[in-house]
Point group: C2
DNA sequence: CAGTATAGTCAGCAAGGCTGACTAGTCTGT
DNA sequence: ACAGACTAGTCAGCCTTGCTGACTATACTG
């Protein structure tokens, strides 16, 4: 009968902490930069949006979510001027979602925020360990997407 | 103007993939073992519950959530016979939450499921890299909880 | 014993997802 | 040339996991 509930901390909990830290940091930095209306989920859109834009259905697929959910995120971003939907000339059903200038700016800000945080972590762990950590994570990602 | 939206995959996305994989795997294994009524959030309760039991308020604190949210999780588990609330003799306001036999069984099953998954990952990455990966994650955790 | 602190509950809400059913265009085979 | 199948996107309704604020009942402390 152990006294501690968990001898070795569960991997899930270990992984969740940095995920939360990243979301919180980016949200805080974006809010400070005047983008307080963006929530973490919206950044997923930018993350999967090619520079030339993409259709919402394609975006949903890449982000591994339903087209309805992605549609709602895009509505939100479009209302606030982060992206716009331009009609697709070749297919009247479809529209292409692309970043506005504001969209580009916020994505740059988010990326810089993440890079700063990653720098802090690298300084704490050491550059080699950080690199290896990222590499392991990347490999795990390829294992999981098979 | 890059064609790919993300040159280096964002760290957040890299971290989220294994988190989702863990939740999905454990949920699937528990469902197959007859514990289909447990959702990922409920496992957080077990994860913070000492063998001797604990008060819901203490549990909420450890799990870093509000007492109301933890209370709801405990209600759910208690209704389905995974935990029970026994009155605290020294304090009539309080009750101690402890696992039932079913609670112990499900926790064991969850842990075994996670260990199998972790074993698969270790086999893919190699034992050394997996160990170092876990160590880096643990260190990051201590950095974040300061 | 008055006042404050603590354990827990009740009610209401937000974010981020989901499924199912639907409309409106597009493509394909005969 | 057009019926039938497919695709882009929307509408409506739901679930999960968390939150805040207001409250009750018990316990502690000066």
């Amino acid at each position: 009968m152990e006294d501690q509930p968990v001898l070795v901390p569960m991997l899930g909990a270990l992984l969740r902490a940095p995920v939360r830290a990243i979301s919180a940091r980016i949200a805080a930095d974006l809010a400070a930069a005047g983008y307080g209306d963006l929530r973490p989920a919206h950044l997923a859109v930018f993350q999967h949006l090619p520079a030339a834009g993409a259709r919402s259905t394609a975006l949903a697929e890449r982000a591994q979510m339903t087209k309805q959910s992605m549609g709602a995120l895009i509505d939100y971003l479009a209302e606030r001027g982060y992206v716009e939907r331009v009609p697709e000339p070749t297919d009247q059903r479809a529209r292409v979602v692309c970043r506005t200038a504001r969209g580009w700016a916020v994505e740059r800000a988010a990326r810089e925020s993440l890079e700063r945080l990653e720098g802090e972590w690298g300084a704490y762990l050491g550059a080699d360990r950080m690199r290896e950590f990222r590499a392991a994570l990347t490999d795990l990602g390829t294992l999981l997407n098979r």
